[in-house]
Amino acid sequence: QSAAYSDGKIKIGILTDLSGQLSDSTGQGSITAAQMAVEDFGGAVNGTPVELIFADHQNKADVGASTARRWYDVDQVDAIMDVPNSAVALAVQQITKEKDRVAIFSSPASSDLTGKACTPNGIHWTYDTYALAHVTGEAVVASGFDSWYFLTSDYAFGHALERDTGAVVESQKGKVVGSVRMPANNADFSSFLLQAQASPAKVVALATAGADTQNAIKQAAEFGLGQSGKNIVALLLAISEVHALGLPATQGIMLTTPFYWDMDDQTRAFSKRFFEKRKAMPTFYQAGVYGAVSHYLKAIKATGTDAAPTVMKTMKETPVNDFMTKNGTVREDGRVLRDMYLFQVKTPAESKSPWDYYKLVRSVPADRAFRPLSESDCPLVKKM
């Protein structure tokens, strides 16, 4: 029996950001979520113990890559999960394929992971830039806000978001009236906000991430962008960030997410457990880690081995079902299809309790949210 499991253990490595920009929305919380998933399996699968290890990739691709290699070569790790930061994720994707193991990305954004950089060994779990663009673009225009101005972080992530969202907006008969590329790591956005304010757009979209998004939102409130009739849309915003900014600054902002803690009994139950451990509600990244670990262990349980090809095959054949994902599927390119939601941040008056932040605007079904296979540039798909 133990022959089916390499080194008699199932070893999962959480490669995450413990010290950088993303450490609040992933980091220790991701590790906690993974631990919860393992606990829910009783710590073992078919009698084989499950072991979790973690490391900080420090947002350096080479540190991430060398950790991944060492994990696979020396520590006999079977799967790597989480991996916020696209550069690290892309490197891990390559190495995982080379070593024929499993990588499930719940935190990076780049849609290349299931596009031109797709491999048979990688799954992109929670969301990607394509989904953010499409869900937001479609749902916001459908809600009647049809002229857009983009404030875009001047790097690949921002460019991709602006390009994709813009395309959707125009395809929905909306209009992009302007955009400005904002240099990275610049704390002052007032100049760009002023340019946005001067434009006739109804929507000011933030194609930004992390600290940039936070400062932009804070300064938008300062310059009264909301009062002057602009709707702010944040293309990527985690609940930890809304919490940090507070409702006075964030009220009215629209955002896309695959998960919010207060959606139904199951999400509330999980989130309550999580909250007790971390004193914060889970972000969608962290919830995604739980789902990824569970799905992986389920597949191992079903097949009785941790050999990557078998496990990958089973994961792709089995529908994803947990508190967060309803009837999700893992596509052949590694893309997980799930429903996505557009939320709006409540006003301080609407918020009844701590962490009561979002109200649902619209939900978008899985098949509309993600890039269809027909548009995919994943080599795995073309071959077929």
Binding site: L18, D62, S66, L90
Partner: protein, 325 residues
Amino acid sequence: MTMQTRDTLHEGIVMYGGSPKILLAGAGLLLAVLAPYALYPVFLMKVLCFALFACAFNLLIGFAGLLSFGHAAFFGGAAYIAAHVVKVWGWAPEFGLIAATAVAGLMGLVFGLIAIRRQGIYFAMITLALSQMVFFLALQLPFTHGEDGIQGVPRGTLFGLFDLGQPLTMYYTVLAIFVAGFALIWRTVHSPFGQVLKAIRENEPRAVSLGYRTDRYKLVAFVLSASLAGLAGGTKALVFQLASLTDVTWQMSGEVVLMTLLGGMGTLFGPVVGAGLVVTLESYLASTSLPVPVVIGCIFVVCVLLFRRGIVGELLHRLPGKGNR
């Protein structure tokens, strides 16, 4: 190296690398050859790449007295070049490395022409400014792929003979590159050129009055250092099969200063020891919950306050007899 017997006067006068150092180097080399059987090769290769980088940096600060706070530009910039020509243009790895070294050398020439006439903190600041521009380019130019970097660079076959996909082959290649780079630095330090460089570091106006065009010497040293930093960066790109923004940030420039300082500025082996320690520490700390920057910061502070000579420098100082200079 042949060491003719000299009369006693010469013996006392000439502070020249004696045989103990050669022995030490030999022992180190032997260890390095055997190391991959005991330690993880990727880790060792990373150490070697950074060691070469730190040695190149040290050539400038330790032997020419110039603090560059922008060396990441050469290291990271060359990594992009190597990654691009190997991955996209499909060049063989050896040509990739040559291209990386050459481009870094060229960048060094440009940086040098602008910065070399300034001294001390001004020099540090100009190099920093220039490297920030390189960072900006790395973020903006299409071929670098922004924050995603160039990924999945094939290691290829060296000289059409050695498959670098094999970890050990790759390791020995990296070792060979390091040894070659290190030997060049050693030779440079102990060459007629190295003598002039030292003189300039000690008293530049005097060197001018002796008829040396000091700017040119400093420029040559700068280009040499940049090229070797580039060679290190290009090699690293092949080892990790990627080139990313991390390597062009100013924090990376700071890190190489730390390595050199920790090991011992102006000593030949210091940077190697320093690089080994810092890389080990970083990979060890990655899987603990200790905050990495705090630990690194503490080391920095302790070094500056208590061990300014660095580990190797401190050892040489305690050892009886002459120092390393």
